[in-house]
């Protein structure tokens, strides 16, 4: 490798991953002066930083979620556009996770490090696909870093939902899906499978769905899942698809629907006990994170000199890398929650 130590270029701190020569953080979990943000999920993108460098889509998502004053200085950068901060070159590469999501590439004195942020490798009609970047150090997420997590084909899961709609045409199918990314992706996949009826959405999703549409993601006909005259409302939603945040699936809000079937679109649904705990009747195994095979295939493809593993099940991926003869270490960064993915 080169003169500079990897740890001197990026290392974990309580506020998140820090780059001393550039004096910036990547996805910090507390307020900082200068932040590089990989994507708009709340645990990665917080309000209150001095300056935010991110893709234009991520900037828009943050403004939609937190209001226009979410940061003092916005620095939208296009994919591949290099910014030099304190001698450190920084650019963003698609991560395939949600709209606007990117990996952060950091290069300094010949040392290149890639922070994947959250990512996945399978096709997502709502965002650009992941691009592998060769590097010295790959800092990989490991949300589903156990070999039991192998997400099945997404279209197959969506067909399960459509089959259930045909079998139980009198019941509302209430799909719990993370409001940013998962919800819009499920809607797009339903459209791809030929479902062209109106899809109803929870109020908390409206702004983000509008934003997706404005940024060119076609979601087809949507309507608010609100009760208009209070009477006969239950029947209005019989046999319909309603998309809501996971927290609303079993909340009092859900009572407005006709004998709902709760469907939860999440990678965690792979494990029966998790589905049972949440009282889910139709688990849909759809995730915006890389599964075990995607994680390991990506490491082999990028073939970094070092693998650093962060949020998720770090130990299993580190173990796997060691058996493969790779140098790997867990980062133990705190503050990232992907319970709802």
């Amino acid at each position: 490798m080169t003169g500079v130590q990897a740890e001197a270029l990026l290392h974990p701190t309580p506020k998140g991953l820090y780059c001393p020569p550039g004096d910036f953080f990547i996805d910090p979990v507390a307020d900082v002066d200068r932040a590089v943000i990989t994507h708009g999920h709340a645990d990665h993108a917080r309000a209150g930083h001095g300056a935010v460098l991110a893709t234009p889509e991520t900037i828009e998502i943050m403004a939609t979620r937190y209001g226009e004053g979410f940061t003092r200085t916005r620095q939208p950068v296009e994919i591949g556009e290099v910014t030099v901060i304190g001698g450190v070159s920084v650019w963003l590469v698609p991560a395939g996770h949600v709209l606007g999501s990117a990996q952060a590439v950091v290069e300094y004195q010949g040392m290149r490090m890639v922070v994947t942020g959250d990512y996945k490798r399978r096709r997502d009609p709502t965002c650009l696909p992941f691009e592998p970047v060769s590097c010295d150090v790959l800092i990989s997420e490991a949300t589903f870093g156990l070999p039991v997590f192998r997400h099945p084909d997404t279209a197959g899961e969506v067909r399960k939902l459509l089959a259930s709609l045909r079998r139980f045409p009198e019941r509302t199918h209430l799909v719990g899906a993370y409001a940013l990314g998962k919800a819009q992706r499920i809607i797009c996949h339903l459209r791809e499978e030929g479902y062209d009826e109106t899809i109803f959405i929870h109020g908390a999703m409206k702004k983000l769905c509008d934003l997706y549409s404005r940024l060119g993601v076609d979601l087809g006909p949507l309507a608010d899942a609100t009760v208009k005259d209070g009477r006969g409302a239950k029947q209005d939603f019989a046999g319909k698809v309603v998309v809501c945040p996971p927290s609303a699936m079993n909340a009092a809000w859900a009572r407005r629907f006709a004998d709902p079937i709760t469907c939860f679109a999440s990678g965690w649904m792979r494990v029966r006990q998790r589905a049972r705990q949440k009282g889910v009747e139709l688990p849909l195994i759809v995730s915006d994170h890389a599964d075990w095979d995607e994680l390991t295939d990506t490491v082999r493809e990028v073939d970094p000199a070092q693998l650093w593993v962060t949020h998720g099940r770090e130990d299993a991926l580190v173990r796997w890398a060691e058996v493969e003869g790779r140098y790997a270490k867990p980062l133990r960064l705190v503050g990232y929650e992907d319970e709802n993915d």
Binding site: L146, V148, D259, Q273, G279, V280, E281, A316, R319, W320
Partner: protein, 542 residues
């Protein structure tokens, strides 16, 4: 196998009975013979295939994947079958996917050692759900929350036939039930009941409400005690002896003490009870809890047979030495039953396991009410009235048989935890753990004594749900802890049928059929009952 695995996946997470029935009937309509028949057998647990031990499955996995990674995965997932099914590396090119029928037939043909090899090959071809179903099948752990009875109801619905006919046939049928399906689809004759000692669908009673009394002419009725055990049918026909539950499940293997002591070819309708082995001259009935320890087992050990011996207290005689007695009036059947069991009082000393439930003298409603309130034995849970002219017909014919249960016991308890319900109730906190006061180290504290999820109206449920949400002090997954102390807490008047000692509960007590009798919004929590009151009840009945 794939289709079967998908059915299981869906059934496991579906709480509603009607939805489960729809999944089953759709499956019967979509899947051909013999696949669907084997699926029925697998779910009703009537399927016998060569077994593979969980440890052998583990060895298969260790041979394919890094053991350390599997251990981490097993730790995380909890269930071995599921961890193994999920972690198994796919092998593209292995495209022969076995059907359930292939699997069952092959497993019956091969040796035990070969069985493991074929299972391994199938693992490569199946997906994770399919592997899970296969592992559960061969390790004998297929429990999916669907009772055999529900499958029979689904079959009846599918073929538009009365459930009693299915129940009556059931024990003469063999998987994969192709004759049965032919009959259900009107393609073939009704299968002949081939089994000896078949089940005869049971006759049930109506509970007596105050308004029913004027309609019941006591002079036409016979009265008997309703014993607190489980209603069974014991049948011996030549070399075959069986004990059936009320719904036709064969529970005989768990009761060898009774199977071996049935001295006549007959079908007896009676109550299964446990007696005190130390009292020899008569059957002294033990509390229901002692019977509970004998239920839901495939086999029973010598120790339990000795400490909790079982017998049957006979109510009725349905069939005897080739003669169907069901068309006879109750009075005549009863006379035949008395003649069969003999004049003498049966007892453990005589190595017998059948005695006669006595006929109770019928004064009038007042005398009956007094007898019901103060029965001669703690194991009596009420009075039965049977029209003397009633023929024995399946189901609940109007006006023939009545049950008049004892008043339930009541206790004022305080709601401690609430859990979300299932199905239509999944957005409501509808399951409540309640407790009573006891003296702790820091003064009065609540100790949980039971859980209730019925007895309230929909309107009351909405209020209860709101109360839970407004008074939550902590959450653990689907459970909420609600405020419950000496100054504040919701008092629930709980009705229950009986009490027993239990080592499984913190309080050392277990309640039978607890349900909410009344919501005591008015009662201060500090005035709810104390554990001593329940202890005293136990002392009184022990």
């Amino acid at each position: 196998m794939i289709r079967f695995a998908h059915l299981l996946d869906r059934l496991i997470f579906t709480p509603g009975r009607n939805a489960k029935l729809r999944l089953l009937t759709d499956y019967f309509a979509e899947v051909p013979d013999p696949e669907r028949g084997w699926a029925v057998a697998a779910i009703t647990r009537d399927l016998d295939v060569k077994s593979v031990k969980p440890a052998q499955i583990k060895q298969l996995v260790y041979a394919r994947v890094d053991g350390a990674l599997f251990d981490m995965s097993h730790d995380y997932v909890g269930d071995l079958a599921e961890a193994a099914a999920l972690i198994w590396p796919e092998k593209p090119g292995q495209n022969y996917v076995p059907t359930l029928a292939d699997a069952v037939e092959t497993l019956n043909d091969v040796t035990r050692a070969e069985a493991l090899e074929v299972v391994e090959r199938w693992f490569d071809a199946l997906d994770a759900s399919g592997r899970w179903a296969l592992i559960k099948l061969v390790t004998g752990g297929l429990r999916i929350g669907v009772a055999a009875r529900l499958v029979k109801v689904a079959l009846a619905q599918y073929g538009d036939k009365p459930i009693q006919e299915i129940e009556e046939l059931w024990h003469g049928l063999e998987p994969p039930y192709t004759e049965l399906f032919a009959w259900l689809e009107d393609r073939g004759p009704k299968p002949a009941s081939a089994a000896h000692a078949p089940f005869r669908p049971v006759m049930l009673s109506h509970p007596i409400e105050e308004a029913d009394k004027p309609k019941i002419d006591l002079s036409e009725m016979a009265a008997e005690w309703k014993w607190d055990g489980i209603r069974v049918q014991a049948v011996r026909e030549r070399d075959q002896t069986r004990i059936y539950s009320r719904t036709g499940d064969d529970i005989g293997p768990a009761f060898p003490d009774i199977l071996g002591a049935m001295p006549f070819d007959a079908a007896i309708d009676g109550e299964l009870l446990v007696f005190d082995p130390d009292i020899r001259d008569r059957f002294a009935v033990r509390p229901f809890n002692d019977l509970q320890q004998r239920l839901n087992r495939k086999t029973v050990g010598a120790k339990l047979l000795k400490s909790n011996p079982a017998f049957i207290r006979a109510y009725d005689l349905l069939w005897c030495e080739g003669e169907d007695l069901r068309p006879l009036p109750f009075a005549q059947r009863r006379a035949r039953l008395e003649a069969l069991l003999g004049e003498h009082d049966a007892s453990p000393a005589g190595d017998e396991r059948f005695d006669l439930s006595p006929i109770v003298d019928l004064g009038g409603w007042d005398a009956l009410a007094a007898a019901r309130a103060n029965p001669p034995d703690e194991a009596i849970e009420g009075v039965m009235l049977k029209r003397r002219s009633s023929v024995y017909v399946p189901g609940r014919p109007k006006g023939e048989w009545w049950k008049w249960k004892r008043e339930p016991h009541l206790v004022d308890a305080v709601m401690m935890y609430a859990q979300r319900g299932h199905g239509k109730r999944s957005s409501y906190y509808s399951d409540y753990t309640f407790g009573v006061w006891r003296e702790g180290e820091d003064g009065a504290e609540l100790v949980p004594v039971g859980k209730a999820y019925s007895g309230f109206t929909d309107q009351e449920l909405r209020k209860l749900d709101k109360y839970v949400r407004d008074n939550t002090i902590a959450r653990y997954g689907p459970v909420r802890s609600v405020r419950a102390d000496q100054d504040q807490g919701l008092v629930l008047e709980i009705a229950f049928e009986g009490l027993a000692r239990s080592t499984r509960h913190k309080s050392g007590l277990a309640m039978r059929f607890p349900r909410v009798n009344r919501l005591r919004w008015d009662k201060p929590s500090a005035e709810a009952d104390r554990i001593e009151m329940l202890e005293a009840m136990l002392e009184g009945s022990a």
